[in-house]
Amino acid sequence: MKRSLTTILLLFTAILMAAFIFPTPALADGGEGGLSFSQTIGGYTITLVFEKPASIGENPVHVKIVDAAGMPVPGAEVEISVEEHSEAEESAEGEMDEMEAKPTEAESSPSTSMHGMEENPAATPTPGTMSSINSISPVSDEHDEMAALEPGHEEGEYEGELAIEKDGDLAVLVHITVQGELLEAEFPLEVAKSNAGSIVLSVFAAINAGILAVAFVMKSKIGKA
């Protein structure tokens, strides 16, 4: 009887572990290498490069800017943020409405826009700043925060980190101020669902199954004694 119970318990444990150890495979966006997007706005070609496939967390990014003559553009102010795709579209539509009232040189896709000397209330998030155990704000509009990129090693290149907090269809907004002009580019980005939760769950399930198995054996020994 005890033996069959042990078998059942071990079988159950094995099934449980297998279920967690082989979770849904991760779908990294963009394959093994990084991602690169380009867009031309107002005569400037803006290239957004992700060093690695975009994922939840901090993502190192580069933005390269070249002018119509193909020359790199140094000294620009570059800010970057990420939004949900639908929000980004709404935001772009709103900006397009504003643009209709102003003369503009916007070109490229409808989701890009260009503003004249418009002030952008950009906020740079403090690196590493995290909300406290009592300080959750699940409904805050964090997409409004933009991170400033620093000039990179090459001329016309800017680099920094883009914090991505959720998966799914997102849009990366790049705001560039060149010679007093604000260029805004939007790049669609698909971030695959993270399987971190499944991995964590499997690790803990395995540990707990181990503890339970040891406890079961101990209890059996005590019972026999």
Binding site: I133, S137, S198
Partner: protein, 455 residues
């Protein structure tokens, strides 16, 4: 005859027909415990497999917007009742029932349990800031799973609720707060004096013995009573009383004050400070100043320094005050520190509640929004999650801090009165009164400053 630490027996809630019957029934506390476990499983599922953004995660909203702010309120009104229905405790009991070896709790845990709890509480708060436990659902899930593993191990090898009593950081917090709580369970001294059965501790076929290793016959504190009523079910002499008492009542007559518990109350004050400071608009400039001062942008380093300072401030203030008080009452600094550290608990609770009131009332609707999202209903993206205006919340926060200040002040007075002769009373009390004023003003000041996360 009732002792000073007891409230009159005529207030015994167990004498009430409905309450008494309910608490002694086999359904209590299971009828609340099992649904709580079910909700916990939903939370775990959401945290680990639900939306990756805290903004959209129902588990995050339920845990940090609802449960965490409500829990200190529960401690005030119901003592440590949460521990009776806590899902971790239920898991402990389940594991124990099926595979538990029921070995005695390790001696080192009994000896250093509260210090371990102090250290864990500090570490978890630190790790939340540095690794982002709250803002990351998986991070919250890891915290919950770590606790689950702890209770599984405890239930598997040790008797009763060893983890809850000696290791759980929330248990330590709730133990401290429950002392100031309004609900008390005790044995009737006259009845218990003649009892030789100790069924309340050992258990009977009706119910297990006290899960938190308490013996109601000699129990003088509510710190380790979760009102599970096992003792009431087991007592053949109907000795157990559950009474309502004034808030902070127990703190006035602590018989055996412990340094580690006094230390924890000062630590909690520091943690409340750091929680508030990191939400202030002034926090990024402080952080930048620290980065320049220490020459690193590592948040782990700069936050650790700020955290350490925040915790050291109330501990040193209490130490300094105790040094001054020792001049008057001729007792050691440590004795004063240990004895009067308990007076901080009321202000701790008030500060904790006031801080969390913001999250509950300013972000409360996020529970509804994320809950609907669970069923595919997209609402609330552009809607405010606030249940009340910022000014109303702030008014409530000041009210709470005011009450906490008065409570701590009065508790310090009662501790002085209970321990010192009249000629030493005022000399001992005065430095602590000044301390309470300073801590009260610091708390109010933190709530006056604009908070970056106000919506």
């Amino acid at each position: 005859m009732t002792t000073l630490t007891q409230t009159p027996a005529q207030n015994n809630l167990l004498k009430n027909k409905w309450i008494g019957r309910f608490m002694r029934s086999k359904w209590y506390p299971g009828i609340i415990q099992w649904p709580t476990l079910l909700i916990f499983m939903v939370i775990m599922f959401e945290l680990l497999l639900g939306p990756t953004s805290a903004h959209d995660n129902f588990g995050t909203a339920l845990t940090w917007v609802l449960w965490w702010p409500v829990i200190p309120i529960m401690f005030l009104f119901l003592g440590r009742f949460w521990c009776a229905i806590c899902p971790f405790a239920t898991i402990n009991d389940l594991v124990q029932k099926f595979v538990g070896s029921n070995k005695p709790a390790p001696k080192f845990l009994k000896k250093y349990g509260i210090w371990i709890i102090d250290a864990l509480f500090i570490f978890i708060t630190w790790s939340d800031h540095v690794w982002g436990v709250v803002e990351n659902p998986v991070g919250s899930g890891i915290l919950m799973l770590t606790l689950t593993t702890g209770v599984v191990a405890s239930g598997a090898f040790f008797e009763r609720r060893t983890f809850c009593r000696y290791v759980c950081f929330l248990g330590g917090l709730s133990g401290n707060y429950a002392r100031a709580g309004m609900l008390q369970l005790r044995g009737t001294p006259e009845i218990c004096a003649t009892c030789t059965l100790a069924s309340c501790y050992k258990g009977t076929e009706k119910a297990d013995g006290c899960p938190l290793f308490e013996f109601p016959k000699t129990m003088t504190s509510s710190a380790n009573c979760n009102i599970c009523a096992n003792c009431a079910k087991n007592c053949p002499n109907d000795s157990i009383q559950v009474t309502v008492r004034p808030p902070s009542f127990e703190l006035w007559f602590i018989r055996k004050p412990k340094l580690e518990e006094a230390f924890l109350s000062a630590v909690i004050m520091g943690i409340v400070f750091v929680q508030n400071v990191t939400m202030l608009e002034a926090w990024p400039p402080i952080l930048r100043w620290l980065e320049n001062a220490v020459g690193t942008t590592s948040y782990a380093v700069t936050f650790s320094i700020a955290f350490l300072v925040s915790i050291i401030i109330p501990i040193s203030m209490l130490g300094l005050t105790s040094w001054v008080a020792a001049k008057f009452n001729r007792e050691s600094l440590l004795t004063n520190f240990t004895r009067f550290g308990y007076a901080l608990i009321v202000l701790d609770m008030a500060g904790h509640m006031a801080h969390n009131l913001f999250h509950l009332l300013a972000e409360g609707k996020s529970i509804w929004f994320t809950g609907l999202a669970l069923f595919g209903q997209e609402v609330g993206h552009n809607l405010s999650a606030a249940l009340m205006s910022d000014s109303t919340i702030q008014l409530l926060q000041f009210g709470l801090i005011g009450l906490g200040f008065l409570g701590s002040l009065y508790t310090a007075y009662r501790i002085a009165k209970a321990n010192y002769a009249p000629e030493k009373l005022w000399g001992t009390f005065a430095p602590y009164a000044v301390l309470m004023v300073v801590l009260g003003v610091m708390n109010v000041y933190l709530f006056v400053l604009p908070m970056a996360m106000r919506m």
